[in-house]
């Protein structure tokens, strides 16, 4: 039995026709923008690189690693492609991989291909690029720095893409949100660890054996702000929308409620935002959104302060 990213390859019949078409349109627009970026850059060497890299990622997906109890996992590769060739090229590489999987190997549907490209090639790439770029500002040096950044980017790309797939299934009425989101979220939170660890090990291998591969893409290339902002927005929207869509209490809380030991919960010493809701706002949904936004602002502030401190201390030295 495999723990496969196949769960994320949505087949035909699971998404409504309207949603499939909408996601096709979004994917086509993104692919055209990516092609425009490629033609504008006039780096002809990238064409064979994208083709061969797509083949390597596809073949890399065949390498399963044993986990436990006869289960195994494998790579998705959006984060690795993004880190190695940049976001727009990675969109084209992942689009090629996902398309060949659907057309030749029937891994994912044909009308659902737009949704699969959107989840894996657009969201996967944008989120991993945003996370990797933000972490580039925080973690700069260190033997394992590139691996750690890759791990987090890999995990986020899988988890957020899975949330998107779950929301699409819920919107289409295939599976209720309170089942699809926790199920897909929890499975992919685990699969994401495997993806992150493989990305970590692969990047460490590359940084030791052919470091210039990483230097070419990370140094001297301006940050693509549109992808960065897009990735952050996608991650935030999905992270905030998902708990709203899934109205059931947390899995552990529900089990505690059902078995009657929730009263034993002693509660935390202090709560900044109790139950992810904002005090004073009576509408539960609005309160959750406000709480989510405040959480993001807090994290962004901490990141900003840490980055500035590091920058100042480097300048002083």
């Amino acid at each position: 039995m495999f723990i496969k990213q196949q769960l994320m390859h949505i087949p035909d019949g699971f998404l409504s026709l309207i949603l499939s078409l909408i996601l096709w349109v979004i994917s086509i627009i993104t692919i055209f923008i990516a092609i425009r970026h490629y033609t504008k850059e006039k780096n002809n060497q990238k064409l064979p690189l994208m083709g061969v890299l797509a083949a390597a990622i596809f073949a890399g997906q065949m390498l399963n690693f044993n986990v436990v109890g006869g289960t195994s996992g494998h790579l998705l590769g959006a984060a690795l492609a993004t880190i190695l060739v940049g976001p727009w090229e990675a969109v084209l590489v992942m689009t090629s991989v996902v398309s060949v999987q659907a057309i030749i190997f029937q891994d994912g549907g044909l009308l659902a291909l737009g949704a699969n490209i959107f989840n894996m090639a657009v969201i996967g790439v944008a989120v991993s690029y945003a996370v990797y770029t933000i972490l580039n500002k925080v973690i700069k040096k260190g033997k394992w720095a590139v691996g750690i950044k890759g791990f987090i980017a890999g995990w986020c790309s899988i988890f957020i893409a899975a949330l998107a797939a779950a929301l699409e299934l819920a919107i289409s009425g295939t599976s209720p949100a309170n089942i699809a989101i926790p199920a897909m979220g929890s499975i992919h939170a685990l699969i994401g660890i495997g993806e992150g660890l493989i990305t970590f090990a692969a990047l460490l291998f590359i940084s030791t054996s052919k470091k210039e591969m990483l230097d070419e893409t990370s140094k001297g290339k301006p940050v693509d702000k549109s992808v960065l902002v897009g990735g952050v927005i996608i991650a935030l929207v999905l992270a905030i929308l998902s708990p709203l869509a899934s109205s059931n209490p947390d899995g552990l809380e529900k089990v505690a409620e059902d078995l009657g030991f929730i009263s034993l919960d002693s509660g935390p010493l202090y709560e900044i935002i109790p139950d992810y809701t904002f005090p004073g706002i009576h509408d539960e949904r609005l309160a959750t959104i406000v709480a989510g936004v405040i959480g993001v602002i807090l994290i962004a502030t901490v990141t900003f302060i840490t980055t500035n401190r590091k920058k100042n201390s480097t300048q002083e030295k």
Binding site: G51, S96, A201
Partner: protein, 264 residues
Amino acid sequence: MSLYIKSSGFLYSLDTRVKWVAVVVIACIVLSIPIFTWAIYILLFSILFSLAIATQLPVKKVFHRTFLIEVPILLVLLPLPFVEKTPPYFFISWADWYIRISQPELLRILALMLRSWLVIFTMVLFTMTTTADKIFSSLIAFKVPAILINIIQLMWRYLALFSELARSMSAARVLRSVPSEKHLRNRFSRVGYNIKYTGSMIGSMLVRAFERSERIYQAMILRGFDGNIRTIQYPTMQATQFMQIGFLLIFGLCFIIGAYGINR
């Protein structure tokens, strides 16, 4: 690597563009009709099955392939009848324990599985009767950007090479890398060990991909590549092919109208 089987028959004689239209039409029929239109599903299956027989395709292989793809889909849908609260229910009891299964939810899952299976069946027929190169190059006719087709074709060309590399690396790992006593004893340590070596193998493949792409680029330059993508001009469609496409569209429309008529 593809499913293509070299043979001749009705499906082989069709133009690739016509087959593309047929696949999309069937997918659209399946997705746009009401979910419980069983008669249409059976009719569609009968037509597809007859086509497979008429083309003398190995039916056992076709079924094997389609059912293999359905397994992960089934795994995703399987919990739904057990957790959904839509009556009436089936009860399976044993001693003090019982399992409640929602009957409408079970039927809905069956219909969903059937829908996705029909599209998979169509796609399998398509890929078994058309070479991968023809499938990709026919995309030009649908105005898919040449750059994307080139990337896909390059990928396809080198996929066999990298798959072989992945296979030989896996075999070498099994034969040569022996985990230490610590890795064998501790489950988490063993998982870490597996992931570390899989990651290194993928890293090694990516390094080789970069090196190979440099050589391919040099070869492309030697053959006159100047950055402009040139594609073969796909032959214009004949009247027969236009008629076949027209027939397919009418066929699709009739099915959709018929499905809504049955469901009234």
